[in-house]
């Protein structure tokens, strides 16, 4: 942890993994660009016009030659951001479910030097919680318990893709889970590296697009299998 780091907005790098998000990527990125954060978009081998939209925008854009998964895309974005001298790295979903206005409160604990990692959570405020569809809430509850049992970290929202990490934390973390199991992998690495983390409330917007594009409720099962396989084949 670094004491009282006061970074400018440009040293805050927002990493956005995108796979076939051509339809919405511009509207997701515009508020980020307007707020003068540095934006790194990782096109994870999209087959649509995502890349051509990106290259027309004032953002850093990198492209995987083939589709590797969200975990791989985040790691690529983080590696790239470190090279661009990022001081704070924020994970942000491309489908528009996260709010740009939440970023400031998310990175505040890092700026104050209180911790190494901040997780967004949709279960800290009653209003955010009620926005989550019932079945999804149930599954996420289960995921929280799985993380508690398998990783040993308690967290109110296991699969929120909205996180902020200090440069020091990102230098140490190395995501090897290419798929969605990276969310649990981050937790286990945080625990192993003895990084300090806190949670901050964030609002998730469940638009029709993000619901259709995002994880289905069945994916929970696949993620669990990935986690177990990841244990065996290291």
């Amino acid at each position: 942890m670094k004491e009282n780091v006061s970074q400018s907005s440009e040293a805050v790098f927002v990493v956005v993994p995108a796979y076939n998000e051509g339809a919405v990527i511009h509207s997701t990125l515009q508020p980020l660009i307007d707020s003068s954060y540095s934006v790194v978009v990782v096109d994870d081998g999209s087959h649509d016009n995502t890349w051509s939209v990106l290259t027309a925008l004032p953002v850093y854009a990198v492209r995987h030659p083939c589709n590797l998964g969200q975990g791989a895309a985040l790691q690529t974005g983080m590696t790239f951001a470190l090279r661009q001298k990022a001081e704070i790295i924020v994970h942000f979903d491309a489908d528009g479910q996260h709010q740009v206005k939440d970023i400031e409160s998310l990175i505040q604990p890092l700026r104050n030097g209180e911790c190494d990692v901040v997780f967004g959570s949709r279960f800290l405020r009653q209003t955010d919680k009620q926005a989550v569809p019932f079945l999804r809430r149930l599954i996420l509850r289960g995921a929280v318990m799985v993380n508690r049992l398998m990783v040993g970290v308690w967290q109110s929202d296991a699969y929120n893709g909205f996180r902020a990490l200090s440069r020091e934390a990102v230098e140490k973390i190395d995501l090897r889970e290419n798929g969605y199991a990276h969310a649990s992998e981050i937790l286990s690495q945080i625990r192993r590296l003895k990084l300090i983390y806190v949670e901050r409330p964030t609002t998730i917007l469940y638009s029709e697009y993000s619901k259709a594009k995002g994880l289905s409720n069945w994916s929970a099962f696949n993620i669990l299998i990935d986690m177990l396989l990841g244990r065996v084949f290291r």
Binding site: L54, L57, V62, C66, L68, T76, R176, N178
Partner: protein, 115 residues
């Protein structure tokens, strides 16, 4: 000798030969593949030996014993291949990452700064 015995023995020996022609691997691998091929051929040629071996470990027929062993080895081979796939996947990821970062598109402000 029955027709099926000839077919199986020829098949086994072909597999072993193909293995040696295709894969340049370590001596231990060569020995074990050779051993497996010869053992297989012997079991086909003299089925009574497999039956007595089966009786020894409490299995009725030699063919049953072989299928049990076969299934377990198949599962084992699947696991080995899966581990190999995972390691290939992580190599591919590193390669793709390096390539992606190498060819990054920079915003106008950053590209001016670096020029």
């Amino acid at each position: 000798m029955r027709a099926i015995q000839i077919i199986l023995i020829v098949g086994l020996l072909t597999l072993v030969t193909m293995y040696f022609r295709r894969f340049q691997s370590r001596a231990l691998d060569h020995l074990s593949v050779l051993g497996l091929g010869v053992a297989g051929a012997v079991m086909v040629a003299v089925p009574d030996w497999t039956t007595s071996l089966a009786n020894l470990v409490g299995v009725g027929r030699g063919a049953d014993l072989l299928s049990y062993f076969g299934l377990v080895s198949l599962a084992f081979i699947c696991l080995l291949l899966y581990a190999k796939v995972r390691s290939l996947e992580s190599q591919l990821t590193r390669l793709a990452r390096a390539e992606a970062i190498e060819h990054a598109h920079l915003p106008p402000s950053a590209s001016q700064a670096s020029e």
